[in-house]
Symmetry: C2
Subunit: 367 residues, 2 copies
């Protein structure tokens, strides 16, 4: 009996995972982490109003969610001063990126990103047969001019940039991004991932250019809104770009509880302000802990801080391993020279205390 054959493209792909979850490490270690600071989750949690809305929705979960995410889309449109036709809600930015790549990237189509930027985007590009062209970071920042130049050189279908950046936490002001948008080559679509934008300084997000068909922006409830496990992201773009999602998206993919939670979270401005304060304090604390250990923290516009361990990637990987061995879940950049850093998510004061205790011990094991 002949087995069914995968497509040629699927055969060529490895079984891979952009990120291994912390639960897998916990199972391997036989004990839970004492601080979960590796996935840029928001340990301060979602708005109490969002929690209440999700708890209420739990008993209504026998119903499919509205496939149009109508109420949430309306609220997001009002929030951003655009039309509902400019918003596509999906099961997290990962899902939206996957659909976007599927729509625009065929076999051997060129795509441009930074070397060391978000691996899940790269996973989707590979998964649809695209060819990734990577440009290096410049002084630990994504480099808009190089991204644009490379896109022009290779005729990129998509150009990916995160602002603020993950994994470095660095950012560009709106005027730099505006210039990048203006420079997008003919036929390219700029994917501006703003997952961390709510935690960046005022003046980081460019104004909406909502009728620009060469730009799509990605936002999420996973970071500032503290709802990573609810899977709610959204894309903002020109109506024609947004409508293309309806050709292939999984209309009934959104969770009903998640929609209810996101709607409540969006309305709770006080909680978001509270979170922004907590995160700013945690960033300062991480910076201080780094300094106390003779290390340098990079400035961050996100809910994490990259700490320069002062040597090469091998050294930082050993620091990382020594932290994980102490029950501190952290991750780090993949690519040199950014891999001289470890990346610490903002946590509660108690979690920051545990990190402060673990870091010098980790460094002690290096000598």
């Amino acid at each position: 009996m002949t087995k069914p054959a995968l497509t040629a493209l699927a055969r060529s792909l490895p079984a891979s995972v952009p990120f291994v979850g912390p639960e897998a490490a916990e199972r391997a270690n036989g004990k839970p982490f004492i601080a979960r600071l590796g996935a840029n989750e928001n340990t301060f949690g979602p708005s109490p109003r969002a929690i209440a809305a999700m708890q209420k929705a739990a008993s209504e979960v026998w119903m499919y969610a509205d496939p149009e995410s109508h109420d949430l889309r309306i609220a997001l449109a009002v929030h951003h001063g655009v039309a509902p036709e400019n918003i596509m809600v999906g099961e997290g930015i990962d899902t939206l990126l996957g659909v976007l790549v599927r729509l625009y990237v065929g076999q051997n189509d060129p795509v441009v990103t930074s070397d060391g930027a978000y691996p899940t985007f790269n996973y989707h590009v590979a998964g649809f047969g695209g060819v990734l062209h990577k440009v290096p970071y410049l002084d630990d920042h994504e480099d808009p001019a190089s991204l644009i130049a490379k896109a022009r050189e290779v005729g990129a279908k998509l150009i990916y940039i995160a602002n603020p950046d993950n994994p470095m936490g660095t950012w560009h002001n709106a005027d730099v991004i505006d210039q990048m948008i203006a420079d997008v080559p003919d036929g390219s679509l700029l994917v501006l991932d703003e997952a961390y934008i709510e935690m960046a300084p005022a003046g980081t997000a460019p104004a909406m250019q909502i009728d620009n068909p060469n730009l799509i922006r990605m936002r999420t409830f996973s970071k500032a809104h503290g709802m990573a496990g609810a899977r709610v992201g959204y894309a903002i773009g020109a109506a024609e770009v947004i409508d293309a999602f309806n050709k292939v998206r999984n209309h009934f993919g959104m969770g009903r509880i998640s929609q209810a939670g996101a709607l409540a979270a969006l309305a709770d401005h006080d909680w978001l302000a509270h979170i922004q304060t907590q995160i700013a304090q945690a960033r300062d604390r991480i910076t201080q802990i780094a300094a106390d250990n003779g290390l340098t923290a990079l400035p961050s516009a996100t809910n994490f801080v990259a700490i320069d361990c002062g040597q090469d990637g091998n050294f930082a990987r050993r620091v990382l391993a020594a932290l994980i061995a102490q029950g501190i879940f952290v991750r780090m950049p993949f690519v040199a020279p950014q891999d001289r850093c470890i990346r610490i998510s903002c946590g509660t004061p108690a979690e920051m205390d545990r990190f402060a205790e673990a870091l010098p011990k980790a460094l002690d094991t290096m000598s």
Copy 2:
């Protein structure tokens, strides 16, 4: 400025939706439905233990879900007497079908299904450029022999069958499905959609043939478990077939609240038994209501009943419209001659009363 170009495949696809949600009709009508009986949702709701688990998980939703769905996968493996490597959890059967089609169906690859079977599967096949070959229903049942013959004729990559069937509610006994599995042609993969299996008579589900690489089965928490809005489905298959999902799936697509709810629902056998009883009673009630109006209900192994309106599709569509006008959300088969029926989901006694009141009025408008 040149706009970014969709792939040739994406350009060829219409912006379409397999099912319009009831919320869209409610918005158009300016009022909510008084009975939601159109999407085969389980109005009896999820297990109270599942609701409690989801409510507890709501405050932990700042964490991403375990991308391996480890605990749920273990529980499902135990439940089915297979290994965890034989289970893939995903965001509903729709998502799993999409990934499966992506893995196996390339441009112009042939796929076989029944004419009038689940449209979301067809949507995925079209979305990846596959070519659908459809065989007719036989006496309102899917026709395994014809499906197999057609698959052999066209060299199908995938063969889709739902048992019990949607939209007709009819079913085949396990021996018929076992024969179909045995007859799967070389190189074909049989997709056995068992979304409604928990509501079918004993003897409907064939035994696991877990090492058979030409078979994959789909199950869900959306129907008997009453968790449609949580988006939890799973595939059961040979380890090599299941592992292929890891090449392209969205690892962090599952919701954390959903995982917790599904785990609790699976353990609550008493609630499932209660639901099975409620659904059997509702099926009988729908059958009786049909008879009271001079119509014939088809036997059903699901949580819905197809009612033969006794004339053609145009007649049934008018009955459907007259029910919807009275606030009863129902749907119907798409294809003749099955479209002589309307499809009524099982509901609470109060919802059944509303249907019983509305149906004769709907039929009155026909004369």
